[in-house]
Every structure is written in structure tokens, then in C-alpha cells.
Symmetry: C2
Subunit: 315 residues, 2 copies
């Protein structure tokens, strides 16, 4: 069955049923009116970010399940809230679809979005539906952060130490393997708890999420903060068995770890003297690795062949 057989309002009804009547304290009015109504707590700022995934650019139907596409799109969007230190308030979804799209495929994509929305506490409170040639999902995520505590890109200072949560390179390796026909499971987790903990930490500097690769995203921090950095490439944390898997695939593990995108880890800086190690990992609820230092001298050094590359650009 195709979408044109269920019609626009039929599809809206299917999405509304998938979302259900999940009551959440911050949601005053959800799906079904001209707009949704949300409520922050006293003393909070509102955080908002918008992010689109487009068929053929960000996803391919033959590389992953529709469920994974929907879930991953939300993970990517919520990662921006994590990078600001915000807790999710809700999400609105603008979907464009070709009327000849299979209903089952669209349902599965919606379920991926709704499952992620429940998992990460970001209720789907509204949306928009339009026909188009490209199937695309534009998610706008709303969050809240203690007033004045939003984590920023422009707050790194010379002498700060640079940390990364979790591991890098895994998603890029998965994409490379998918491109060669392997069935790969993409299930990124936005680092929401770590981001919220960082926003409350004394002595935190800048923060960004790794969506386009460490080199590209740390580059944004350095430019915004008007500083440079020296990275120890050997200390960039990678998943277990990563080097061997890269070797088998004929890929350079160091380059992949430094430039691969879509791991959605957080890169952040701490002022000198702020305790790191296991105490920091406990506080953030995730392993963290110190990978370098912020320098007054501009530019990014220490990455060798991975250094000059940039992340993904759209044209």
C-alpha cells in the first residue's frame, strides 16, 4: 500500500496513534492544534536546534532499516541539545514524502522516531506533512538548560585540556562497511546525561558534539574561541577491535578516528586544575579521555595525515 492510498490525514492519524497519549509534565498541549505548548521550569533558558535528513544524502533505504533512519535522525538532533547541556522538552517533525512511498516503510520510520523520542524523553509534540520528490525528515528539538549555563563553542581558553566522551570512528567504519554491502546497525546515543552534567560542572570550557568528525567539529570550537589545539592522535579513543577492523577494510584507523562523523560523542574542554579521571567519568556517566590541550597559537596540530581533512560538506 502506498501513502497516496491512505492520504495526508490518514498518515497524520497513523503518526498520532504511534505517538499515543504520552503525558509528560513539560507538555501543556501536544499534537493536534496550530502549535504545541511546552513549559520550562523557573530559571531555565530555552534551547532550540533544527536538523534535516534527506534521502540519498543522509540515509539510503538499502543501507539500514526505516526504523533506524527515524531513530538516528532524532539522535542526531538531540545530540545538539546534549552539546548545549540541555534536557529535552520535546520535538516537532516536518516530514516530506513521495506519495508513492510504501506505507509500511513510512510507518517504520515513524516508529523509529517515536521509539527514540520515548527512550530519550523528548515527546513528539507536533509536525508538518508535505509531499515532495525527496523523502526528508526535519526535526526541531527543544530543550531547557539552567539559566546562563548553556555550553558554548566559543568558551575554550588556552591551557584548557580537551576531552572526548566514549569512542570515535565507529560510525564512519560502519558507513564504509555498509557501502561495501555489509548489514550494519547504526544506533547512536545522544550524550544527554553527560551534557547536562557538564552544564553543571564548575570549570567547564567549550563543548560541541562530533557530528562531522573531530577535526571539523573541534575546528568550530577553536575558530569560535579564537584559539588553537595540540591533539595526541594516539589518545583518540576508538571502539574495541577498531584498528583490526580498519586494517581488514583497507582503511587508515587514525584518519577515520580523527575525521569520521556521526558518533555523536561530546568534545569539551576543562580549565586547568579541574579534576578529571574516574571522578569525571562517574559524574558524566560515561568514559572520558583527555586527548590534548588548547593553545594560544591558532591551528590544530598533532594529527598528522588526518589534520588537513575537513568533515562532510553538502556541496
Amino acid at each position: 500500500m502506498k501513502l497516496r492510498d491512505v492520504g495526508e490525514f490518514g498518515l497524520i492519524e497513523r503518526i498520532r496513534r504511534a505517538v499515543g497519549r504520552a503525558r509528560q509534565p513539560g507538555v501543556v498541549l501536544g499534537i493536534g492544534d496550530d502549535a504545541a505548548v511546552l513549559r520550562t521550569r523557573p530559571g531555565e533558558d530555552l534551547v532550540v536546534s533544527t536538523d534535516a535528513v534527506v534521502e540519498g544524502v543522509h540515509f539510503r533505504w538499502d543501507w539500514e532499516t526505516p526504523h533506524s533512519i527515524g531513530r538516528r535522525a532524532l539522535a542526531a538532533a538531540l545530540s545538539d541539545l546534549a552539546a548545549m547541556g540541555a534536557r529535552p522538552l520535546g520535538v516537532v517533525a516536518a516530514l516530506t514524502v513521495d506519495p508513492s512511498l510504501d506505507v509500511a516503510r513510512c510507518d517504520a520510520l515513524t516508529r523509529g522516531l517515536v521509539d527514540g523520542s520515548r527512550r530519550w524523553g523528548a515527546p513528539l509534540v507536533g509536525g508538518n506533512l508535505t509531499r515532495a520528490r525527496d523523502t526528508a525528515l526535519t526535526l526541531t528539538v527543544l530543550g531547557a538548560v539552567p539559566r546562563g549555563r548553556a555550553l558554548r563553542r566559543d568558551a575554550a581558553r588556552a591551557g584548557d585540556r580537551i576531552f572526548v566522551t566514549g569512542t570515535l570512528g565507529g560510525a564512519a567504519l560502519g558507513v564504509a562497511r555498509a557501502a561495501r554491502g555489509a548489514r550494519v546497525r547504526f544506533a547512536p546515543e545522544p550524550r544527554l546525561a553527560a551534557g547536562r552534567a557538564l552544564a553543571r560542572l564548575r570549570g567547564v570550557g567549550a563543548c560541541i558534539d562530533v557530528s562531522d568528525g573531530l577535526v571539523a567539529d573541534l575546528g568550530h570550537v577553536l575558530r569560535a574561541s579564537r584559539v588553537g589545539a595540540r591533539i595526541d592522535a594516539d589518545r583518540i579513543p576508538v571502539p574495541r577491535g577498531f584498528e583490526a577492523a580498519c586494517t581488514r577494510a583497507g582503511l587508515d584507523a587514525r584518519v577515520l578516528a580523527a575525521t569520521g562523523g556521526e558518533d555523536y560523542e561530546l568534545v569539551f574542554t576543562l580549565r586547568p586544575g579541574v579534576p578529571a579521571g574516574p571522578a569525571l567519568a562517574r559524574r558524566l556517566g560515561t568514559p572520558t579521555t583527555e586527548i590534548g590541550v588548547v593553545t594560544a597559537t591558532r591551528g590544530l596540530r598533532g594529527l598528522g595525515p588526518a589534520g588537513p581533512r575537513r568533515g562532510f560538506t553538502h556541496f
Copy 2:
């Protein structure tokens, strides 16, 4: 010059320059970080709505200027805030473009968006840029409304009188004339001031904006409120010279006024006894016309041939 010649970051820089450094009290952090940070006033709820316009579906490059496309997209999005009684806080824009799109065309579309953003007090605080086949602009608007005062679709009651601001049918007549090759200027104004005044009015019932046509949009109100309505078709307010222009174009003026979309007027109900007339028009800052009454009997009566029609649907 094509977009691929300026590149993704070149285009982002052009948009950022068009936006400028417009400081606004509610904006804590604008374009340039992982997310924007906004601030509501104490005692306010947050209102959010997302809306997309797609090339070939909602606009055509040969029917209007790119500036008009950008401005009109924002008017449509802000109209949803007006319908909730909210004041704008900001807007985020997700743009998908074909890299072969002319830079001048894209710049003009952006200027239309930014001009509207200044005109209506909704600063552009963030966005997303992606390549795609379809040029599409997805706008998510954020607003604030006094706590618990958001205007809703489901609040009409039998006995309420039904009002509309301004006039209906003008946009649909314009589209019909554009389809026949006429140069038409589309410059809708979201009824933000009227919406805010309504949210503060004692005895207001339901409210919606007319984006898909009176029959379709009033229909949403009636279904959500589980009531019906009797409309006096002769009282639906139309622009000066509308009947004559419709006759010349071979169109039925009554049908167009009752079913034409994109006028972005507000349709709202008032409890019995709430003063209307010139006092109401003064309070809302716009002419208002009483066009019918809410009934306990479900369904929409009094529209004759325009009645059974529905508004625009996407597939």
C-alpha cells in the same frame, strides 16, 4: 553563479550576514552554535510550530519573486503563533537546496525571510542547510503566551458566535490569476497582534488561522470541540472588488471565499454576551466580522455549494 560555487559554508556566511547582529532581548545566543538559546518571561508558556514550503507544491519560481517566497513562508509559519495568541520569540530555518540553484535567487529568498523576521519581530536564530533535489524551506517558529492562555481549537461551545478577521478569498483569487499568467503580489500578514489580544480577552472560545480555507479550518475547530456550526455565507468578508474580479475570472466568489486558503486570517469564537462590533475591532487592531454561530448539532451548515468541499490536501 551557482550555490555549488560558493559552497555550504559560503552560503551559511551569506545568510548570517543577511541576518546581521540584531540584538533582541529574548535571544541569549543566536546563529553559530549547536543550538540557539532563547528566554521567555516569567509566567509564560512556550509555543512551537513547524511548517514547510516545497518547490512545485507551495511555490513556483515563475509565479512570484524569491523574496516573496521567503517572506510568505514565514508569514504562514507565524500565523500558527497568531492562532495560539503567542508573541514571536524566534525562528529556525532548515533549507534544502539543489547545488545548481542560482545564488542570487537563494539570496533573495533569504532576504525575504529576514525582512519578514524583522517586520514581525521573530529573529532568525538558527538553521540547517542540506542539499536535495527539491528546494524546500522548513521554518520552526517559537513563541510565548501568558501561562495557560494559549488559544486552542477544542474550546468552542454551542452558542458561541463565530468571527473572522480581515477578508477571505483574496489569496485564492491571486493564485487563480497567477495560474493564468498574471503578475500577482502575495504579501500576507500574520495576525499576531489580534491573536495576542484574543489570548487576553475574557470570553474567547476557540481560535484557528485560515491556511487551508474557512471550511477546512473551521472544520478542524468543530471536530476538536465536538460541535457544529451554522454559517451565513453572505456575511463572509471579502476584499473590495472581489465579486467583480471573480466574475471576470469565471470563478464563484462564494466558493472561493469559503474554501480559498492562505489568507492567514483568524477564525475565532466568543461566548454569548461578549461585546463585539467596533470595540472588538479596536481591541484586536483589525476589522472583525460575525459570520455564524456554533451549534450543538454536528456538521457545518449554511454554505451551500461551498460546504462539502475540503481544503488543500497533500496526496
